[in-house]
């Protein structure tokens, strides 16, 4: 064990050896919660954004019209409330609220997952709505004009384009979540920040431990960012297309500049 006179890196290596597995497990929990939370949040965002992007028409019965208006009001309130309060406060209210009302203590992992999902869903709902509305209305008209239902036109034509457009925002949300799950330490979720704090407390080596912690956070977010860029490129398909050639000429790659 290093002494009080030992250098910074000596301590870092010592702490790394001693707490490495613990920190990695914490990083695993962080990744798990932020990944599942972002995915679940995206599903929530898709559903809420879809409903809010749908034009509200009075024609299909007045009862349905009012029901949908109320649903929209509720969804709007959800978005406003969760975007206007810090996640750290939401974590406290949800976790202790559930325990006070239902007299159950949520498992920490589940609690973290629920909080991140609901919070992310509120942000992504608006991003999805914007994404849907950014797709040229002509795309949907063409889909309707060949006989697709509204749902089919959304599923096959509008949403794929909307999702492609919001992918950078979605990736951003994931990266934010990797970092922001650290606030879940207030409800004792054993994510990276929480385990770092306990590790640091053992020897009172806060700088050294959190130096390691920051590197782990950086590696996680940096890797995720690269992976998302790759997925975006993949979704765009090849820059060039292959001419569907005759039998005599093999398929030739035709280089085009893209764009109009």
């Amino acid at each position: 064990m290093p002494t009080a006179e030992s250098g910074f890196f000596e301590w870092v290596f010592f702490l790394l050896k001693k707490f490495g597995p613990l920190l990695l497990r914490g990083a695993g929990v962080t990744l798990l919660i932020s990944l599942t939370g972002t995915i679940a949040g995206f599903v929530i965002g898709l559903a809420v954004g879809y409903v809010r992007a749908k034009p509200l028409q009075k024609e299909n019965g007045a009862g349905g019209y009012w029901a949908r208006k109320i649903v929209r009001g509720v969804l709007g309130a959800y978005i406003e409330i969760f975007r206007s309060t810090p996640m750290i406060v939401q974590a406290m209210v949800i976790f202790y609220g559930i325990s006070a009302v239902f007299h159950v203590t949520l498992p920490y992992l589940l609690a973290g997952f629920v909080i991140v999902s609901i919070n992310t869903g509120a942000y992504l709902a608006e991003i999805v709505r914007g994404g849907i509305q950014s797709v040229d209305p002509g795309q949907q008209e063409a889909a309707l004009a060949i006989g697709m239902t509204y749902g089919q036109s959304m599923l096959h034509v509008v949403l794929p384009q909307a999702i492609r457009n919001i992918l950078p925002a979605l990736g951003n949300e994931f990266v934010v979540n990797i970092k922001d799950t650290s606030v879940l330490n207030v409800i004792s979720v054993t994510e990276l920040f929480f385990v770092s704090k306990s590790a640091a407390g053992t020897y009172f080596k806060y700088f050294e431990v959190f130096f390691i912690t920051s590197i782990i956070y950086f590696v996680m977010t940096f890797t995720v960012t690269r992976i998302l860029r790759w997925i975006e490129k993949k979704m765009d398909g090849p820059e060039n297309y292959v001419m569907h050639g005759s039998q005599t000429v093999p398929d030739v790659e035709l280089v085009t500049k893209g764009g109009e």
């Binding site: 008209e141 060949i146 006989g147 089919q152 297309y241 001419m243 085009t256």
Partner: protein
């Protein structure tokens, strides 16, 4: 007498307080090629969009094979599948290749198998001369090429009648010809077509009937020779004089 496919009766359309169509009556018979001409804002595109209910008519009736398309219980999806539409802005599905553009409607609406849908799609893509570009995405095609794929997409649904909404208006001048050539071919093959256009040559040489619209009403409707050589209405004369002058 040929079978009437689409009959429009007393059709009216308001956008808010603005009357866009007033008491429009006309019909399209099987195999007929009808063009609608008139200046911008005369209501011709709105009329076309009312026919496949992309716009909801305010009043009047549209009959498809004698049945009102606004009856409750009318199968709007199947109707639209049989009444194809070609748009001014092409509106090819940007997330799909040329082939997929022609396949998706057949599979999702007509419930054809992928193999059958691709066979049909290839047949029509070949017909419009776009079969070598099946793997291209819309952003990789020129305007004329996009419009030809859009025509193939509409044809792949085996429509009863095809509506064209100013199909060449968004094209560079040198690409207008290739699209018009495809349309002339289709007209010759006996396809029923309703074409909103500014191409007077097409209206005069290819169509069976020309409808002239102005201010939301049909001013005059007759065979092309009558409209172009002896228009009865002064408004028709004025319009033709203006547009034929600028064409020269």
């Amino acid at each position: 007498m040929r079978e009437t496919i689409i009959e429009v009766r007393h059709l009216s359309k308001f956008f808010g307080d603005h009357e866009v169509l007033r008491d429009v009556d006309f019909s399209v018979a099987k195999g007929e090629v009808v063009s609608i001409i008139g200046s911008s804002g005369s209501g011709k595109s709105t009329l076309l969009r009312c026919i496949n209910l992309l716009e909801k008519p305010t009043g009047g009736e549209i009959l498809y094979h004698g049945k009102s398309i606004r009856e409750p219980g009318f199968n709007l999806q199947m109707y639209r599948a049989h009444v194809g539409m070609v748009f001014q802005q092409f509106n090819l599905f940007a997330n799909m290749t040329a082939l997929e553009n022609c396949v998706v409607g057949q599979m999702k609406v007509l419930k054809r198998s992928r193999a059958e849908a691709e066979k049909v799609a290839m047949e029509y893509l070949r017909k419009v001369g776009m079969d070598v570009y099946v793997k291209a995405k819309p952003r990789q095609l020129s305007g004329g090429q996009k419009q030809r794929v859009a025509i193939a997409r509409a044809l792949s649904m085996n429509p009863d009648v095809l509506l064209f909404d100013e199909p060449t208006s968004a094209l560079d001048p040198e690409m207008v010809g290739e699209v018009l050539a495809v349309m002339k071919d289709l007209a010759k093959s006996g396809l029923t077509m309703l074409v909103v256009t500014h191409e007077m040559g097409f209206a005069r040489d290819v169509c069976d009937k020309v409808v002239f619209m102005d201010g939301g009403v049909i001013v005059e409707s007759d065979v092309p020779e009558a409209i172009f050589t002896q228009p009865k209405q002064p408004r028709t004369r004025e319009f033709l004089a203006r547009i034929l002058q600028t064409e020269e």
